[in-house]
Amino acid sequence: MLGLAKGLKYTLKNLTKEKMTYQYPEEPIPMPDRFRGIQKFYPEKCIVCNQCANICPTDCIELTGKKHPDPEKKGKIIDTYDINFEICILCDLCTEVCPTEAIVMTNNFELAEYSRDELFKNLEWLDENDQNVRKENKA
């Protein structure tokens, strides 16, 4: 009986303790700076080196480059850049290998959509996703 009484005391004590839950949609959850959310892409920085697509463990990045419009300059510039968030696991490897930090992580993580097709994000969308970029990557 003593054990039961102890238990009752413990739960009663917790009745007045501070609540641990977040009012989630109203109050945004604070995420640490390193949090791996949805990627932000800087098309102007990209040198089309393909490293992100190669390192991606789930092959969710597809990109194509085109010749630099300025004939003076060498190299390529990015043409299309798609991430398929149906299979992206937000592992952060693409941002880790990127030599120019053209792709970086943000703290945004809300990806719920009504259709799977909407999880297919293209270059423009990724470019506009410029909120809550990691501090270390802030341009």
Partner: protein
């Protein structure tokens, strides 16, 4: 005469107490189990096959998803296997960060077990109390690695990131807090007579049976086998810490409970010491080639995960990808004894026993 009939009952694949998609086909006579056949494989994702086409760095996120309750140990076992083959040496700080992450993960994992176990037994509240503390650990690990569950934190040769500013301080503060909360758990649960009646003498097996069935972790130590790879096949920097290997003699669900609860305290000890000892040189990545290639040959390493002995076998052709990658998944091995334990028990004990084994289905199915 009353004629009775045995009844086939499917526990799972969707059942609140199987903790995932695990199915148990039981034959019951009334509520007494005559025969139990576990059916697994519902969560098999072919990690090992996938890994054959992936570079070592790319496999790390996949290991997160095996034992998703304690992903850090999975990260570690893969990195450790590759490092053992390569003979890579890690900077001390990296090792300490790994140990901190793993031990925090171990505490979190045992907390999840504690909470869900009590939920299985019918008490709702301990689950939420345990998750309060687990949430803090997850937040700590989130700050460290940038993810709450699938950390992808370790790399071959070191870790992805150094500890952020003030992180170690937070970990230091967490230890006494956790100790305080543990006392509360013991008040709430450990002395509870109903709980004691539910777990004492349930799912009993002997030392010999435990070894015979290749059990590991708390499932083995609860029978009195003093065996903890952290201590006895020491890896990383575990030899620099002073901690005990927890054993109990009972071999029943109660002993397993005691083992795990005491292991939380031992992990806290390790965390405390690691925070004190961690070198302050900021070097967290060893010198490894940019493209990781394990030398030709094969290796099997095993470490202590919260669930038992997690092992990693790599057969390498000296390429970027492993030729064959195999994980020794403790839950998979620990689950084997289940049919034997369940024979003659009733429905309520089924849940107690199954919960006491502490399985994670992602790991069972690989």
């Amino acid at each position: 005469m009353i004629r009775t009939e045995e009844m086939m009952l499917n526990v799972g694949p969707q059942h609140p107490s199987t903790h995932g998609v695990f199915r148990l086909v039981i034959k019951v006579d009334g509520e007494t189990i005559v025969e139990a056949t576990p059916v697994i494989g519902y969560l098999h994702r072919g990690t090992e096959k996938l890994a054959e086409d992936l570079q070592y760095t790319q496999i790390i996120p996949y290991t997160d998803r095996m034992d998703y309750i304690s992903a850090m140990t999975n990260n570690y076992v893969l990195c450790h296997a590759v490092e053992t083959m390569m003979g890579a040496e890690l900077p001390d700080r990296a090792e300490y960060l790994r140990v901190l992450a793993m031990e925090l993960g171990r505490v979190a994992s045992h907390l999840v077990w504690f909470g869900t176990y009590l939920l299985d037994i019918g008490a709702v509240s301990p689950f939420l109390y345990a998750f309060r503390e687990r949430e803090m650990i997850i937040n700590l690990l989130n700050e460290l690695s940038g993810a709450r569950l699938t950390f992808n934190y370790m790399r071959v040769g070191g870790v992805k990131w150094d500890a952020p500013d003030g992180w170690l301080e937070k970990v230091r503060e967490f230890v006494p807090y956790m100790r305080e909360q543990l006392k509360g758990y013991h008040d709430l649960v450990t002395g509870n007579e109903i709980f004691l009646n539910r777990v004492k003498g349930i799912g009993k097996y002997t030392k010999e049976e435990a070894i015979q069935y290749s059990l590991s972790g708390a499932n083995l130590r609860c029978t009195g086998v003093e065996w903890d790879l952290r201590k006895h096949e020491t890896y990383s920097v575990y030899d620099r810490f002073d901690f005990n290997v927890i054993t109990r003699e009972g071999g029943d669900a109660w002993s397993r409970y005691q083992c795990r609860m005491a292991e939380i305290e031992e992990s806290l000890k390790i965390i405390e010491q690691a925070v004190e000892q961690i070198p302050d040189d900021g070097k967290y990545m060893g010198k490894v080639p940019r493209i990781i290639k394990a030398p030709k040959g094969e290796a099997f390493v095993r470490i202590e995960s919260p669930r038992g002995e997690i092992g990693c076998y790599i057969a390498s052709e000296g390429k970027k990808e492993p030729y064959r990658l195999k994980f020794r998944r403790p839950s998979f091995y620990n689950l084997q004894i289940l049919p034997k334990l369940l024979k003659g028990e009733n429905m309520a004990n089924l849940i107690t026993i199954l919960g006491g084994v502490d399985i994670v289905l992602g790991e069972v199915d690989g």
